[in-house]
Assembly symmetry: none
DNA sequence: CATGAATGAGACTTCATTCAT
DNA sequence: GATGAATGAAGTCTCATTCAT
């Protein structure tokens, strides 16, 4: 009774991600993943040695997606566009941030996961810093390195997402609007300082 | 064979928190909690109707602790001290943030938990805004309301904690030092603007 | 739905032994043991940490039973009675030897089990040697130490049991009858030699 | 992607035997056999209808090997050489006896296997008896038929092997040395009796 | 108050087996 | 001939939960 459906590893990972986000971490069962993907549990074990390996592959996949976005950012986009993208993922039901935070929490007891998430976060910081450098000749506020600005922006994006995830009526629109103003203000400071 | 040890609900909650943070969410079992507290599983059921209720009580307890800290903040402390306290909890092994994020992730599938965490986050925002108002007569950067500054600071604190949790060598010291400089810088802007 | 039936570890081990012998080693499942004992699988796990531990306890129990028999042998019985007892366990459906051989085969991949079975076998050898020494002043055949006679008798008993287990029509009666004659003959040799 | 390796049934049986002995009966899986043989599971199903059939073929093959040895024994070798060969297979890691006992235990729940093993054992007994008859004109001990001597020798060989399999420091050398003495002694008895 | 024995559902995992290619 | 993808039943084990004592 073997149906060679040829379901790919990628398909399974996608189903697994949905499962993880929709069912929550403690109902993230292989049975649920199998159902979601329309295969049997055995099939999952044909592709992934263990549940942990599946989770690891989810992390890997998530990081790779992030990385490709980051690469585009550093090359083509400027800060304002990065923030625009962050805003679009800042909501009470953000798939992206639910997934990310769930993985972070899983990582608390799995150094491999934790390490990978750490790397990707650091890459984000670096990319943001590079982007800032194309915008600012120097820091707009003395004592705050552009490197740290990169870290802070990333922190703000994650921190706001976190708030939006727990506050149904979080003012995403307003906050991001003013965050934009903040950047304008900072950039203006630089120009004034030049005179 | 009943030992009238008189273990309090609070003791159990404390043990449960430790369990949750140390063992991770998927090894957060009632047996583990019982062992941690030095009682049997039955005892837990004497105090909590279900496991979910225990989790809810953990959230409640955590929120209450937070609330009492917030109250102190609004009344007695100023921003710089709040930040100092945030820095002390920003580390790779932060019990507080591990607990908080674990609860947030649990909340993704439990509106009660999520709601409580949302409330407490909002309270933090408000308290920070109040604190800022005692420091700043108006916003240091046009277009960014003091309310939003409160939100942003809170976001930064959580976002930095998140980074520190996944990056073993995250530069906590340096980042918080420069975050301090940022505040000084902003406050100075206000004073300059006054002239 | 907890019924405090108070089923003892010993009861479970007994059921497990029956299961092992009746169902065979590859159908020796915990479900089968549970059914045999009239409890649920969970109950088994309450008493034994793992399936392997249950098997180990079966071995231990079997060895202890053997040991108590051996002790009686050395103290009260003489060789001929030991052989009588061996004969009674020599059959196509011998519970004892089926169990023993099954454990031996399990031991091929478990040094703990193997070690215990080795110990008990050695004890049997020793006991037999002691028994022989009360019967024979010296060896009836030059060059064969009484120690070795002990080993050989034990080997014969096991070897015959093995044959009986695979040959439906093995002549147990006749063989043991002549084995008795053999001992008589050997003992007689000694007496003749004395003259 | 079919590799016409032309792996023979015999090769698979050999791999399966190794698997059975090395991994033990409960890790005797078709996947393991396939790996051992360097083919995929499907290939095994091309050659054997079921796993049970493979096991049966292992038994068959083992019996045939035994039979050819036995034939040689009856025709060319004398008892002392048979014993020499038995000694060489009497060890803590005897592939032969591990395999044989494993098959015996499997046979407890499979009459086909059991029957075949019974037959081969009986053949061994007969061959030994025939060999003895070329050596002894009559039994060295009254009341013990030469037929029974054949059975007893076979039992000793298996029984000693069993002991060696569970006792790491079983005195194989010494025991077989004295077993040789025993035969010399018995043969001498005959000669003395002739006078 | 608290325990310890028991449960039953469900989790992860393995494995013999099938079948299109 | 042989493979690899898939299945589904069954196995080991965990865990929230119950309840008599």
């Amino acid at each position: 009774m073997a149906k060679p459906n040829i379901i790919s590893k990628g398909d399974l990972i996608k189903s697994a991600k949905e499962c993880l986000v929709n069912n929550g971490i403690d109902k993230f069962t292989l049975r649920a993943v199998a159902e979601q993907a329309g295969v049997t549990q055995g099939t999952i074990y044909y592709h992934f040695k263990t549940k942990e390996q599946l989770l690891l592959d989810i992390v890997q996949d998530t990081c790779e997606s992030s990385w490709s976005e980051i690469s585009e950012l550093s090359n083509q986009y400027i800060i304002s566009q990065a923030i625009e993208s962050a805003k679009s993922r800042c909501s009470y039901d953000s798939f992206f941030h639910k997934l990310f935070l769930t993985l972070v929490v899983s990582g608390f007891n799995n150094e491999t996961i934790r390490g990978k998430l750490g790397e990707i976060t650091q890459s984000e910081n670096n990319a943001l810093t590079q982007s800032l450098l194309t915008l600012w000749s120097k820091t707009p506020i003395d004592g705050v390195s552009v490197e740290t600005w990169g870290i802070l922006i990333n922190a703000i994006v994650d921190g706001l997402a976190l708030q939006a995830l727990v506050q149904k009526d979080f003012p995403v629109e307003k906050t991001y609007e003013e965050l934009g103003q903040l950047f304008k203000g900072l950039t203006q400071l630089l120009n004034e300082g030049d005179k």
